[in-house]
Symmetry: C2
Subunit: 484 residues, 2 copies
C-alpha cells in the first residue's frame, strides 16, 4: 500500500510548488484521483482524519458563538433557487440538475443553501425575540465548475460548513461579518497556523446575491492567492425575495437581515499542506495531526517481544495524556523506511526506541519541522503536550513571517509587474470597487494576469492621488494578486 510513499517527493517545494503539491497529496495518501470523475475526489483516511479534527475546532468555535447545527436537504427546488435574481444569475451555470423524478419539481444539487435557509427563517422567526437565529450545517455542496479542477483546491463537490444567520438590524448583521472573520482568525490562523488577509471584495467579485463579501486570501508558496472562508452580508436581499419578515419591538413587520459564512474544510486543508510542508512532505500542526506521535521500535528477532512491550508501555502512557499515538510495528519494513513514510505524512513527533534507549530509560525524539533528534528521559514524556504547543507556535510564526513582506506598495505599472512576478501582492490607489472600477480591473487582468482582490477589511485605508489606469481620483486602496 505504501509503495508510492517510499518513492518520496521528487521535486523541491520552492522550485515547483504545483508538482510538489500533486505528489504530496498522492504519495502521502490523502486523495486518490483514479476514480476519474471530473471534480470529484476520493478523500482517504489520512486526509479525512485531519479534516475531522479541523471540523471539530471549527464547530466548537461556531457553537461557542451561538450557532446551532442543522441538516438541510442536499437538493433545492428550482423555484427556490430562482427567487433571488442575482443569485440565480450567478449560480445557474454552475448547477447540477437532477433528471425528472416524476414529482413535478425540478431539483438542483445545492450549490449553497441561502435559498433553503431563508424560506425556513420565514417560518421560524416571528418576532425580534426569536433573533438572532444562527444556524449551520456540515456537508457537501456541488458546483458544475467548468474550469480546470484540482483536488482539494477546486472541485465540483466540496465539503464545508455553511453558516446562515438572521438578525433584526443591519448593525448586528455587519457585526456578524466581523465575528466570522474572528472565527477564521481563531481557528484557521491560531489553530491551523494559516495566516490570511481579510479582503472586502470589489462589487464585481462578491457572492451572487450579497451586498458585500469579505474573502480570506491566503498565500500559496508560489505567491498565488487562494480564497479561504468568505463571509457575506446578504442584507435584506434574500429576506425580501422570500418575504421573510419579523415583528420588531414596535410590532411592525420588517425584513430580516441575513449573513452567510462558508469555511470549506477540504480547501483549507490544501492551505494547511501548502503552508507548512517542506521538501520531505507534509507537516501537520500538532493540534490537528491524526497521529501526534509515531513510535518506531527498533528490534531484531531476539529482542522483538521486549522492545514491543516497552513501546506499548510508552503508547499507553501517552494515550493517558490523550496524545494520539501509534506504533509502527511492521516487520517487513526497515526503520529507515518507516521514518521516511511518517515524515512524508507529516507526523509532528517520532519516538525511536531500541535496546540502548530502553537500557538508559530514555527515547530518541525526532521533531518533524526542525528535523532535530534529541534524547528524552522516559520520565520527561509528560513534556510532549508542551512540545506540541511549541511545535504549532513555530509553524504559525514561520507562516506569518512568510507573508510579512508579501505586500508591496506600488505607484506605477512597472512596480506592479515586478511585485506580481516575484509572487507578491501589489498595493495601489485605485478609482473604485463598484461598477465604475470594472474597466480598470479588466486592464489589471489583461496587463498583469492579476486580480483586484479588494480592500483590506481589517482596517480603513485612505486612498490618495489618482487611479493609475483611468486617472480619476482614487477612492480605494486595493490589492492586486495572482490567484488560483
Amino acid at each position: 500500500m505504501e509503495k508510492k510513499s517510499e518513492e518520496g517527493i521528487t521535486v523541491k517545494k520552492q522550485e515547483n510548488f504545483s508538482e510538489w503539491f500533486t505528489q504530496v497529496i498522492d504519495k502521502g495518501e490523502l486523495v486518490d484521483l483514479r476514480l476519474d470523475i471530473k471534480g470529484f475526489t476520493v478523500i482517504r483516511p489520512w486526509a479525512a482524519l485531519v479534516m475531522e479534527n479541523m471540523f471539530n475546532y471549527l464547530e466548537k468555535e461556531l457553537q461557542k458563538k451561538g450557532h446551532k447545527p442543522t441538516f438541510m436537504p442536499s437538493v433545492i427546488p428550482k423555484e427556490n433557487l430562482k427567487k433571488e435574481s442575482e443569485h440565480i444569475k450567478g449560480f445557474t451555470p454552475e448547477v447540477f440538475w437532477l433528471k425528472d423524478t416524476g414529482d413535478n419539481k425540478e431539483l438542483a444539487l445545492r450549490p449553497t443553501s441561502e435559498t433553503i435557509y431563508t424560506p425556513m427563517f420565514k417560518f421560524w422567526v416571528r418576532s425580534y425575540r426569536d433573533l438572532p437565529l444562527k444556524l449551520y450545517q456540515r456537508g457537501s455542496v456541488f458546483r458544475l465548475d467548468t474550469k480546470a479542477t484540482r483536488p482539494l483546491i477546486r472541485g465540483r463537490e466540496f465539503i464545508w460548513i455553511e453558516c446562515h444567520d438572521a438578525f433584526s438590524t443591519k448593525e448586528e448583521a455587519e457585526a456578524q461579518v466581523q465575528e466570522d472573520i474572528d472565527t477564521t482568525e481563531k481557528v484557521m490562523h491560531q489553530i491551523y497556523g494559516v495566516p490570511f488577509l481579510p479582503m472586502k471584495r470589489p462589487d464585481w467579485d462578491k457572492f451572487a446575491g450579497a451586498e458585500y463579501t469579505v474573502g480570506s486570501d491566503c498565500f500559496m508558496p508560489d505567491g498565488k492567492l487562494i480564497q479561504q472562508p468568505s463571509t457575506h452580508l446578504m442584507g435584506q436581499k434574500f429576506s425580501r425575495a422570500f418575504d421573510a419578515t419579523f415583528k420588531n419591538k414596535e410590532e411592525k413587520e420588517e425584513y430580516l437581515w441575513t449573513t452567510a459564512y462558508g469555511p470549506a474544510v477540504s480547501r483549507i486543508l490544501a492551505s494547511v499542506i501548502a503552508t507548512h510542508g517542506d521538501d520531505s512532505g507534509m507537516i501537520f500542526p500538532y493540534a490537528i495531526a491524526p497521529v501526534q506521535v509515531i513510535i518506531v521500535p527498533i528490534f531484531n528477532a531476539e529482542n522483538k517481544e521486549y522492545v514491543l512491550k516497552k513501546s506499548k508501555e510508552i503508547l499507553n502512557e501517552l494515550e493517558k495524556m490523550e496524545i494520539k499515538t501509534e506504533i509502527d510495528e511492521r516487520e517487513y519494513k526497515r526503520p529507515g523506511e518507516k521514518y521516511h513514510i511518517w515524515e512524508l505524512k507529516g507526523v509532528p513527533f517520532r519516538i525511536e526506541l531500541g535496546d540502548k534507549e530502553i537500557k538508559n530509560k530514555e527515547i530518541v525524539l525526532f521533531t518533524r519541522d526542525t528535523k532535530k533528534k534529541e534524547k528524552l528521559k522516559l520520565i520527561d514524556l509528560k513534556k510532549i503536550p508542551k512540545l506540541g504547543e511549541q511545535f504549532d507556535k513555530r509553524l504559525k510564526e514561520k507562516a506569518d513571517k512568510f507573508i510579512e513582506d508579501k505586500i508591496v506598495n506600488c505607484s506605477n505599472k512597472k512596480e506592479i509587474k515586478q511585485a506580481l512576478s516575484s509572487g507578491k501582492l501589489a498595493k495601489i490607489n485605485f478609482c473604485s470597487t463598484d461598477k465604475n472600477g470594472v474597466a480598470c480591473a479588466e486592464i489589471v487582468e489583461k496587463e498583469f494576469s492579476g486580480d483586484v482582490r479588494g480592500t483590506l477589511a481589517s482596517k480603513n485605508e485612505k486612498a490618495t492621488g489618482n487611479c493609475l489606469f483611468c486617472g480619476k481620483p482614487a477612492t480605494k486602496v486595493i490589492y492586486i494578486g495572482k490567484s488560483y
Copy 2:
C-alpha cells in the same frame, strides 16, 4: 417560535402512535416539512444536536474497532453502478440521475457506495499485509423511493454511516458481520437504549448484491417492526465484479472478501423517540440529550437579578462537570409554559430555582421519565451524572421489558393472526429462507399482511415438524411481523 410546542401533544402514544409521532417531531421542533420536497426533510437544531451525539458514539466505537474515516464522492458513474448485476437490478429503480454535465459520464447520486469502495480497494490492497482494511464515511445517500415517505423513517435522502471492509478470508468477513451486530448492541442498545432482534433475512429480502444480510429489527409502540442497522456479507461478489484481488501469503492472487454495515442515524433517531417517549412528548437518554439539565429560574421583577445570578452559579458548576446545561431565562414565558416545552423536548432533568430554594441552599429536581419532583441540596449537585446513568438504565430496562413478551410461538394460522393483530411477532417452523420459500412467504404476506423477517442471527434455532403453508419439512425457525 414555540407557539406549536405550547399546544402540547393532543393524542396518547398508545392510542394513536402514528399521529403521536407526527406531532412530537413537529411540535418538538425536530423536523420541518414545509419546504415540501417529497422525501427530503429539514432537520432542525434539536434533532441535529441529538444526531451529532449519536454520531459521536457510533464513530468512536467504529474507530475503536479499527475503522477509519473517508469522504467518497456523492456521485457514482453508471459504469460502476452496473458492474455487479444483482446490485444494479436492485438499485436502478431507486436511483436519482444527474442531467448531462457534458463530460460523457452518466452520474447517479449514490444510493450506497459499494461500487465506489470496491474499485478503490483494488488500488489500495496489494497483499494480505494491507488487510483487513476497514473504512467508513458519514454522509447522505439518496434513494428515489416511490412509496409513501415519512420524516426520519423513510425518506429519499438519509444521513448515515456506511462501513465498507475488506478481508483475506470468508471467516474474517463473517466475523465482521458479528462485530457489526456487536456495534449495534454496544451503541444502539446500550447507549441509546433501543433493543433489537438481529434477523438473518431470507434470500429474497437481502441487500442487492450480498450473500446474506442481517437486519436489526426494532419494535415500534404499535407492534410494527422497523429495520435499523443492517450488515451484509458481500462475499466475493463485488470484488469479482471489480476484479479487486490481493496476493495471499502464498503469493497467489485471490478475490477480496467484503462486508458492509449501514447505521442510518436519522432513522435510529425515530426509534429513539418512538421507544422512550410518553404522552407528554419525547424523552432523550441522558447520554445523547442536547440539554441534559434545564434550569428554570422562578423570579419576579424584584428578585430577578439575584435568582438569575444563582442560576448561573449552578450552570457553571454543572458545566464544570461537563453536564450540558441551559438556563431558560425568557421573561415573556411563565415557568409552567417552560416546564411544558422542555418536557415535550425530552430533557432528562429540570432544575427549578426560586427564592425559597436559594434560602434553603437547595433546588427542586424534576426527572422527565418518572415525572417525580424532589429536593436536592446544592451540595448534592455532583450526584447528577450518577442520576443520569440511572435515568438511562431505567429507559433501557423499560424498553427491554416492552419487547420481552413480543415473540409468540405459533403452530397454526389462527395463532399467527392473533399474534400479529396484537402487535407481536409470530415465531414458526418454515420450509426455507432460500428461493424455495418464496411461495410460502407470499402466502404470509397475503393472508396476514406480514413479512417473513428471517431467522434469529444471534442463535441457531433448530426447526422441527413441517411448514404450515406447503407441508414440506421445516428447515428454519422464522419470525413473521408487520413492518414499516
